[in-house]
């Protein structure tokens, strides 16, 4: 079992001074309560098995096991060591109020220690911790201080203090600056005498317990709420992965790997419940399989087998066969394939979702030295190891890089997965530099330059030690999604009827650009805005879809009424496929008939004009005197006829066909005409369209009589039409 459990006591001051605050500021009580809520919330939602107790001091009543002879008064053990649950959260929300007494915080500390002592007896606890939240405004009796410290040490109890003010004046400059509060609440007022002496005692305690980092465990309320990072130190440790690092067959080094960085996810997922009963058991999900036929015939799961796609082929491939034929390997390994220059392994090629740190095996000094030699050698040569990594025999092996990492107090390798050839997509993008249209001018470049100047998040510290101050450390921010998730769950759990709460202001602010930067970059941003004209292009796409919807809605019902089933199906066919393409604005030469139909349908151009475009294309095609072109022309004429009939507009078509017929001999298109006759494409008669001036018999005669009348036929309207005339006619 990785990581034992912990016993924690939260000890909060609810005495009267805690509710003092400057106007418009939250009182220390409110802030401390928030810290506790956050903490418990996190414990509840993390479902840790750590046990937690809550002790309040400064309460009107007294309830603790040391309550004797007027000692340890106004201290209440609200809850004994227990796994925290929602009830505790509800109690904190509803039952903890500022009270009107005061109590010695050292007394409270003793109560906590006593509670831990009795509570953890006979249990194995890895960590025992007391968190004390107080404003230090009560005088504390320091007589017993050394005894207390001695006992803390003996019981291996760690302490954390949460105060309304920072413990050190320079706290904010050291690590992460508090960026958003120019006038910090709590600090301006100066400390009272009690607070000052209390603070000295706190520092004394902390430094005695831990000489080096003792003061790091003193937090301000505000910072605690905002960062919540200190909760990390009571998290589970990652599991060790022991293995052998091998170089060839004869040089193994015993190592142990730990997942160091990986995207943490919420451990619980949502279950579906019935809306009425909220019962999970009332809802059942079922997957059925059915054939892809008209009836969607259901088949039993047992009647199905496993298969795979190999391109267009479907290959039945049972689990057993697959297991037998699959790639097998020897399992767990961390084998060096070779070494390469670090700069050949590009940052953007890092794959996978984790970084593993590789240390020497525990308590193996020789492995320690061997790995140290490797780490230092790589570091000195600026190289990295390319390794084959397999977590175990079931998991797929990877290729990855192990980089050397030398820190003040340890050395290790950092392993990251690298891509396989199959993972890469070699995209090429148009050049930006060599494109005159996109080349920024010197003025534009300098505007960007000063923007970068004004927005640098890292600054050299004033003094000459070269220290840098980073204003925005992402890896110190808690994942806002978790914060929000738990806030909402908490809220819903405590008050089920209420709508979800708004986002917490501190969380919102924590995600924003630091205040200083916002101020500083204002000018340069304006300059960039001035020098770079940016215009949003109207979204053609959107127009297209709306046209699609429009076209569908307004036309389809009509079409359905007017036409038989067969035609309608055909209609739908190009309705979706082609109108969606949307780019047809004139009759093109590739598929003129289709374009023509589409344009007629869209009604974006007058009928006459579309017809003219079509006949233009027909004439062009006929110019080629080649069978495929003839065929294409015929489909155009067919489309012309069909649409004309549909719209009841016979004259343009009839006129064109008549003049076309007249021009046949001159242009030597007899072969084409024969094809037209074969397909029986003739004039539109009165029977078909009312407005037509051609009778049924005339229409039938139009094709048949051709040969006979060859010579005699006098052109009724015009002389031999050449191409231009034909077009003008429209």
């Amino acid at each position: 079992m990785a990581g034992g459990k912990a016993a924690l006591v939260l000890c909060m001051d609810v005495g009267f001074s805690m509710s003092n605050s400057a106007p418009g500021e939250e009182s220390p009580f409110e802030l401390a309560k928030k810290v506790i809520q956050k903490f418990v919330q996190r414990q509840v939602f993390a479902e840790t098995k750590d046990e937690l107790a809550l002790v309040l001091f400064g309460t009107d009543s007294t309830k603790n096991s040391l309550d004797r002879d007027g000692q340890y008064q106004n201290i209440t053990v609200h809850r004994h060591l227990m796994v925290p649950d929602f009830q505790l959260l509800e109690e904190i929300e509803n039952e903890i109020h500022p009270e009107s007494q005061q109590a010695d915080w050292l007394d409270a500390l003793v109560v906590c220690m006593d509670l831990l002592k009795t509570g953890t007896q006979g249990k194995k606890c890895d960590r025992v911790n007391i968190s004390l939240l107080t404003d230090l405004n009560t005088p504390a009796n320091s007589e017993q201080l050394d005894v207390i410290i001695e006992n803390l040490k003996k019981a291996n109890i760690t302490l954390q203090f949460f105060l309304p003010f920072p413990a050190e004046d320079d706290e904010e400059d050291g690590g992460d600056a508090d960026r958003r509060s120019p006038g910090r609440p709590g600090t301006g007022k100066g400390l009272s005498r009690e607070q000052q002496s209390g603070l000295d005692m706190v520092k004394h305690v902390m430094l005695t317990l831990n000489e080096e980092d003792g003061l790091d465990e003193i937090y301000s309320f505000r910072k605690a709420v905002e960062q919540l990072c200190m909760f990390k130190c009571i998290e589970k440790r990652p599991t060790a992965w022991p293995c052998l690092l091998t170089i060839g067959s004869c040089l193994p080094i015993r190592i142990v790997g730990y997942k160091a960085v990986t995207e943490e996810r919420l451990k619980k997922s949502w279950t579906t419940v019935d809306a009425q009963t909220n019962q999970k058991d009332d809802v059942k999900r079922e997957t059925v399989y059915c054939l892809d036929d008209d009836n969607e015939t259901e088949v039993q799961k047992d009647d199905t087998i496993q298969g795979f796609r190999y391109g267009s082929d479907i290959v039945p491939f049972s689990k057993v066969d697959q297991e037998q034929m699959k790639y097998k390997h020897d399992g767990k390994c961390f084998a060096v394939l070779g070494f390469t220059k670090q700069n050949l392994v590009r940052r953007h090629h890092f794959m996978g979702t984790q970084v593993m740190k590789v240390f020497p095996a525990k308590e193996d000094e020789h492995a320690g030295i061997a790995l140290s030699a490797l780490v230092r050698a790589l570091d000195g040569l600026n190289m990295a190891a390319i390794v084959r990594y397999a977590y175990n025999s079931i998991s797929s092996p990877q290729v990855g890089a192990a980089f050397p990492c030398i820190k003040k107090d340890y050395e290790c390798l950092i392993y990251v997965q690298l891509p396989f050839m199959e993972d890469l997509r070699q995209f090429t993008f148009p050049s930006l530099e060599n494109n005159k249209k996109f080349t920024p001018s010197d003025k534009q470049l300098s505007a960007v330059d000063s923007l970068i100047d004004s927005m640098m998040l890292v600054e050299e510290e004033g003094d000459d030690n070269g220290d840098q101050k980073d204003m925005f450390k992402v890896h110190h921010l808690p994942n806002p999604a978790f914060q929000r998730h738990f806030q909402c769950l908490h809220h819903r759990g405590v008050s089920p009827g209420a709508p979800l709460p708004p986002m917490e202001p501190w969380l919102k602010a924590a995600l924003e650009r630091p205040h200083v930067i916002t101020e500083r970059c204002r000018g340069p941003l304006e300059e960039v805005k001035r020098t770079f004209p940016l215009t949003e292009v109207e979204k053609k796409k959107k127009l297209k879809t709306s046209a699609q919807i429009f076209g569908k809605d307004s036309e389809e019902p009509d079409a359905k009424k007017a036409k038989g089933d067969e035609e309608e199906e055909e209609e739908d066919d190009y309705n979706f496929a082609d109108i969606a393409e949307g780019s047809v604005t004139s009759v093109g030469s590739v598929n003129p008939a289709k374009d023509f139909r589409l344009l007629i349908k869209k009604k974006s151009l007058p009928f006459g004009e579309v017809c003219q475009q079509l006949t233009g294309r027909i004439e062009q095609l006929l110019g080629n005197k080649n069978t495929p072109y003839y065929m294409k022309s015929i489909t155009c004429i067919q489309a012309f006829r069909e649409q004309s009939v549909k719209l009841g507009e016979a004259n343009l078509y009839n006129g064109y066909l008549q003049s076309l017929k007249r021009s046949i001999p001159n242009r030597g298109l007899e072969v084409f005409w024969e094809l037209l006759v074969q397909d029986a494409i003739t004039l539109i008669s009165k029977d078909e369209v009312e407005g037509s001036t051609v009778s049924k018999t005339d229409a039938d005669q139009f094709l048949v009589s051709e040969e006979k009348k060859e010579e005699a036929a006098a052109p009724p309207v015009e002389d031999t039409g050449d191409v231009d005339d034909l077009l003008d006619m429209m």
């Binding site: 170089i247 004869c250 060096v336 050698a377 941003l525």
Partner: protein
Amino acid sequence: MAEWNTFYRNEEDEEDQEEGEQSGDYKATGRDSLVFLVDASKEMFIKGEDGQPSNFDMTMQVVRSVYASKIISSHRDLMALVFYGTEQSKNPRNSFKHVYVYHDLDEPGAKRVQDVDALRGDKGAQLAAETMGSGETSLGDALWCCANLYSDIKLRLSHKRLMIFTCRDEPHGSDGAKDRQARTKAGDLKETGVVVNLMHLMKPGGFDVATFFRDVISPPEDESELGLQLEPCDKLEDLKKRVRAKEQKKRAMARMNLCLGEGLNVAVGIYATAVTARKPAPIRLYRETNEPVRSKTRTFHTQTGSLLLPSEIKKSQVYGKKQIVMERDEVDAIKKFEDPGMSLIGFKPMAKLKRHHHIRPAVFLYPEEDEVKGSACLFSALLTKCSERNVFALCRCVARRNFPPRFVALVPQKEEVGEGKVQISPPGFHVIYLPYADDMRTLDPPQFPTASQRQVDKMKEIVSKLRFKYRSDAFENPVIQQQYRNLEALALDMMAPEDIDDLIMPKVDQIDNRLGPLVQEFRDLVYPDGYNPENKAAAKRKTADTGGGAEKKPKVEVAEDELRAHAQNGTLGKLTVPVLKDACKRFGVRTTGTKKQELIDALIAQLGK
């Protein structure tokens, strides 16, 4: 097994997410298509000097490799293989002479790979001569035929590309009419959105693109792409590279605004340049017919059996013994912080980007001039300045609707062009996802003495002996390759799958040879006599095993009052399953389940009485 699951849980989640992204894309844009139009004239079959493969042979190898890679990476893309300048004709309506449609536009499958394989090498040339022969050339007809292939497809095509492979710069000799016809047809194709590329091959005397092909092919995608000046290909690798660069249609995962400040939005597209390829998911087939079945999932009420509408369902989680219920849209609303987009926070020097701050593969950022005019210019200026000053931009990024924000580092990358004017790295920003505090695990690094200079120097010798030039595309994934070889073998009724080369297997013998005595020298310097890292590991495990077993046994007995206390405190979960089972036995609790929670529930019910 359990351990393995927890270890890989994240990856599976990731997979779902990625899959969602990809399928979404497909729906929105339709299929990609690619037609190989290959010259089959006599000139194509002339062998190169020193037994170099003929142009035809080379082309077939490229076609084969594209087929095979499409099967793995994007099997839904449509491909066709058409020959022109053949003696025989074969096309849908047989209306074109000297055009041979070898493969109609369709998804590539095992059969097709085999077909193309048959056209490779000397035998392939013979087969080509027998089935198709070489004859007259009319590129116009060929192009027209290809246009018909496109127009016969009922599916929506998103991206249409046609590649002409030829070594003849004057395909019609001096027949001006044919040239004209070909140009017209090419124009038609381009008008319908087909991108026509020329993969011109080596020809004695040089290939002059200007004489004819300049008007046939699509204009370069941008001014700087010096498509026309390209030298003809004479190497297979070059040709493969060139085809590959064109063949993959880049598709933006998302388009969004990069907001530098109030009212200052640069439109950008996000592209996935490296996506973990996975074994394909199995599909279910009907046992009788081997036809794929569809699966339908439905949610119904256990009691009434009626189907439940989304409005009749809520979502719930249980925490700290309390059930918390939310509406489905509330669950989404929790995740929403802001609309998709990137907001600039500021800049940091590159040194501040830590190598170990890695949580998922990077994506690529490129401006979208079509969305906001002027984007490319500002983007280009940012890119120039960031790379000049060696800084990265820190942004807050919401990738898609209802996604919580992540912070990303935009790392500048200048364009790099390699030999043969092939772009090696495109200009743009790499988007590196940064971890939050929650994503960083706390470790207790063990402390050891460090190695001495002599030991380090010896290791340096070893390292130097084994150095090589890493290339990101050098390693194939053996798991995926094996799976596809297996499928190929089954699909083609082969006796056994082809063997794969496991490229990520260390070449132990070679390494040992190269290192020679260095290994022993290093071992002598570092490991004392009698220390065997391998033995010790094994020995230790053994003792640990027996020790663990011995330790576990006494634990099984848990006092009754302790159990009651656990039940009261709600801490039964702390006990192990064997302990709980034992407790159930002792209290006479009959349990059907073996799951921990079931045991706990049963115990609580019993002890609560």
